[in-house]
């Protein structure tokens, strides 16, 4: 077996295990509702995440309306504002991005890309989605309970999160913590499935070093999530006990409104360590699948192999490992022992090295390519720009002493929106334009797609690039209104108005995108098979969209890496993974 990924072979090892029969749906309900087919589960995850994501989008408009035009909207008060900020953040990070990348793309693509008929534990996979669905319902329920959702900020820092001065203290915080606990239980079921499927159910010839980077990204991210989420789980349960039973895990002695509370002896900083032990890997739980997917999009649409595949794989693994020892860079000004700063600044800046390598390899993949400016390619370019921009501002915040003036200002808000909001969402869009034909058999409308891309990319850049400068100025984040100060010039208010108007326009462009998804399902151009002339296995299924069991009678056999584009001496500019050495692409002209 070739240990260098890009050498094709003309043989594949024999199967080690016989195939296990799949669960076959017996009714409409077991086929589309309580489905055990990873493709259906993936789409269920994606639709649920999109639905709750729309709530987060509307919340972002409300936040922006208040920031751009303070004292204008009577229906937004300070309590409401902090609730919007909290719910927007939590929904976007956990219930949209994590769920969509791992639950959505993970479920849909892993079995197809590694050449399996389904996930190895389909029943557990089904449970995973329904528990996630329940978690979303519990989260939403907090709007309908007395006091409304919590306004503690998405970081939920105690003591504030469970005290009177914070909105949603009655039920909101309880529902939030319960919902997170449910999400983690559901995710663990799905996550174990993804890892075991990738390790155990790859088809003949699909060595680890022949897996598409999409699968690598999702694989490493899932391992991170399985190790990181338990810290949040523990934190959530302990805070729930502090709130409901009056324990003092995170609560020191406190005087609230002149009254001594019954708490004592706990540590608020302990919660921050638990939260960020989860929270920093979480950034990469979102970023690594995006890294993987964008590598495949760039390669396919530039008709060129991913440059430095092995380096790309090791960079993913290195980033994943390092992401567990950088968490306290979120806590430089938390009051933790200041000597931690030396360690965490060093590890944080080291993680920039493998990350920068990935960027170089993406742009070097473009070099001497044959670049098709398709929608997936446009979104990939948009990703590189916004990711590099957000990555370098991370070098400011990671370098402990530079973080001191910038921490808790709008610079941080601009940084993380650029790097883990805009950039991964660019990849999500690119991926949807890329795989929509596989899922539906039709292409998305090109014109609407271009409109969507340009408004989203340029608009998002115009929102977040100038916002960094408000942070330099010293404007704090999580401020309902700036009020009177001696250092914020009036022009800052004008910039805030501009950002708000741009945000509303970018939001509108997302409606066009959603309409496109709906409209093209019936009216899009019918896609030819393997419309992008891609090499990976999901495009080599006998039917498109792939049917139950994915690959018809025979599982595909893999002879080469997925990046044989424009191989010298071969007429077609692509050779699918299931073509033996010396063979040619079927269906290639």
């Amino acid at each position: 077996m070739a240990d260098i990924g890009h050498d094709a072979a003309d043989y594949a090892p024999p199967a080690e295990l016989e195939e296990v029969d799949l669960y076959h749906a017996k009714s409409w309900i077991t086929k589309y509702v309580f489905s055990q087919d990873a493709k259906v589960i993936g789409i269920q995850y994606a639709l649920t995440a999109t639905a709750i994501g729309l709530v987060a989008l509307v919340l972002s408009w409300l936040i922006r309306l208040q920031l751009g035009f303070p004292d204008t909207f009577n229906f937004i008060d300070a309590a409401g504002y902090y609730q919007f900020v909290t719910m927007h953040g939590m929904i976007m990070v956990v219930y949209l991005l994590t769920a969509l990348f791992l639950g959505g793309f993970g479920n849909y693509l892993i079995p197809l890309m590694v050449g399996a008929r389904d996930m190895v534990f389909p029943y557990v996979n089904m449970l995973s989605f329904w528990i996630y669905f329940l978690a979303v319902l519990v989260l939403v329920s907090s709007w309908f309970l007395p006091g409304g959702p919590t306004g503690a900020g998405w970081t939920l820092y105690p003591p504030q999160a469970i005290m009177q001065g914070t909105p949603g203290r009655e039920w909101g915080i309880i529902m939030m913590l319960l919902s997170l606990a449910l999400f983690i239980i559901g995710f663990t079921m799905g996550g174990l499935n993804y890892v075991v499927t990738i390790l155990q159910a790859r088809t003949r010839g699909m060595t680890l070093m022949r897996m598409p980077l999409t699968v690598w990204g999702i694989f490493v991210a899932t391992i991170l999530a399985l190790l990181a989420f338990p810290a949040l789980f523990v934190g959530a349960i302990m805070m729930l006990l502090d709130r409901v039973l009056g324990t003092s895990f995170f609560m020191p002695h406190i005087v609230e409104l002149g009254e001594h509370l019954k708490y004592g002896g706990g540590s608020p900083i302990l919660f921050q360590h638990l939260f960020w032990f989860f929270g920093h890997p979480e950034v990469y739980i979102v970023a690594l699948p995006a890294f993987g997917i964008v590598s495949d999009l760039i390669s396919t649409h530039a008709r060129k192999n991913v440059f430095g595949y092995r380096m790309m794989v090791w960079a993913l693994v290195a980033i994943g490992g390092l992401s567990f020892i950088v968490w306290a860079h979120h806590m430089y000004v938390s009051g933790m022992n200041p000597y931690f700063g030396f360690f965490f600044a060093t590890t944080t800046l080291i993680i920039a090295i493998p990350t920068a390598l990935k960027v170089y390899n993406w742009v070097l993949t473009l070099w001497k390519g044959n670049i098709r400016l398709t929608l997936p390619m446009l979104f990939s370019l948009g990703f590189i720009v916004t990711f590099v921009n957000g990555g370098i501002t991370g070098l400011f915040l990671g370098n402990v002493v530079v973080d001191v003036p910038l921490s808790d200002t709008l610079f941080v808000v601009a940084h993380f929106h650029m790097v883990m909001g805009v950039a991964p969402i660019m990849v999500i869009f690119g991926a949807i334009y890329h795989w929509y034909p596989l899922m539906t058999g039709r292409m998305l409308h090109e014109g609407m797609g271009k409109f969507h891309f340009w408004i989203t990319f340029l608009g998002a850049y115009l929102i977040y690039f100038p916002m960094h400068y408000l942070g330099f100025l010293g404007m704090p984040r999580r401020y309902f209104e700036m009020g009177e100060t001696s250092f914020v010039p009036e022009s800052a208010a004008t910039l805030n108005e501009f950002i708000t108007v741009t945000a509303l326009i970018v939001g509108f462009a997302q409606m066009v995108f959603l309409f496109n998804l709906y409209w093209s399902r019936r009216n899009g151009i019918v896609a030819e098979k393997n419309p992008w002339h891609a090499n990976s296995l999901e495009w080599q299924t006998p039917e498109m969209p792939p049917g139950h069991g994915n690959f018809g009678k025979e599982l595909p056999v893999v002879y080469r890496w997925p990046y044989d584009y424009s191989v010298p001496g071969v007429e077609a500019d692509f050779i699918p993974q299931n073509v033996p050495a010396g063979g040619t692409a079927t269906g290639a002209e």
């Binding site: 002695h253 430095g308 920068a356 473009l366 370019l381 590099v388 690039f465 400068y469």
Partner: protein, 278 residues
């Protein structure tokens, strides 16, 4: 072509915005100019990389756009190039990290001559405590808080008796004198933040946090809370006035000490009680 032009416009536009932006750090009022310098250095190193990458992308998109009759190059790996870029990046990162850590070391090493004062946060007000004539702050704890002792100063600690209390009023500091800022909170997390001082630190109930600095110019500056502390977080404000030595001494002489404030509080209660009994 169009895409390449937009990429270049993004790069050029970002640089122009940076040069012409009216929004930038406030004029500094502390000794932490090194922090600003480290920010500038980081800007230079990362800015150059950013612009280079955008231009490189624009060139690729323009030069290698799809043509039926062209083929992409086939080059899976290039060890030399990959390692070269790794080493360059490592140097760039080290170039930012090393000065950053040196300045951080300064930031957390409090000079001996720094005088300590205390900031006490509560929802949603700022209180301050300065050492009295003995130059020492008395011990304090949230457990000691009563109506007449809202900052929880230990009533049995002799060094606390002459501590100067400033409750919900402006703090004054003397220009050119290094100070160690000790921070406490009696309820939730807060964060003592004066943009012009560049420094900030969370205030955590149950523990004392600190930073140090030297005010370098006189003036009045806003104190903001920089850690979400509940529904009136944005309204938790105060001011710090940096005075020259004589103004500072005049102001200091007018402030009330802990012992005085306790006596006054007790007198008040006594008067109320006597009035009530009559």
């Amino acid at each position: 072509m169009f895409v390449a032009i937009i990429l270049i416009l993004v790069a050029v536009g970002s640089v122009l915005f940076h040069l012409w932006s009216p929004w930038w750090s406030t004029p500094i009022a502390s000794n932490w100019g090194y922090i600003d310098d480290t920010i500038d250095l980081t800007f230079w190193i990362t800015g150059v990389v950013y612009i280079l990458i955008l231009f490189f992308m624009a060139y690729c998109v323009w030069k290698f756009q799809y043509r039926e009759d062209r083929r992409a190059d086939y080059e899976p790996e290039n060890n030399k190039l990959e390692w070269g870029l790794t080493i360059l990046t490592t140097l760039g990162v080290a170039g930012m990290l090393a000065p950053g850590l040196i300045v951080w070391n300064d930031f957390i090493t409090v000079p001996k001559e720094a005088t300590a004062f205390e900031v006490v946060g509560q929802q949603w007000a700022w209180n301050y405590r300065l050492p009295g004539k003995d130059g020492k702050l008395g011990t304090a704890a949230t457990q000691n808080i009563t109506d007449e002792n809202p900052l929880g100063i230990n009533p049995n600690d002799p060094s606390g008796q002459d501590d100067v209390l400033i409750q919900s009023e402006d703090l004054h500091l003397e220009v050119g004198k290094p100070v160690k800022v000790l921070m406490r909170s009696i309820d939730v997390l807060h964060d003592f933040y004066v943009p012009q001082f560049r420094a900030k630190m969370d205030m955590v109930p149950g523990t004392i946090t600190y930073f140090w600095m030297t005010p370098t110019r006189t003036g009045t500056f806003d104190v903001l809370c920089a850690e979400l502390c509940g529904v009136a977080h944005h309204a938790m404000r105060s001011k710090v006035v940096v005075d020259n030595a004589s103004d500072y001494q005049t102001w200091l002489a007018e402030q009330e000490t802990f012992a005085q404030s306790i006596a006054e509080a007790r007198n008040k209660t006594k008067t109320i009680k006597t009035l009530a009994s009559k």
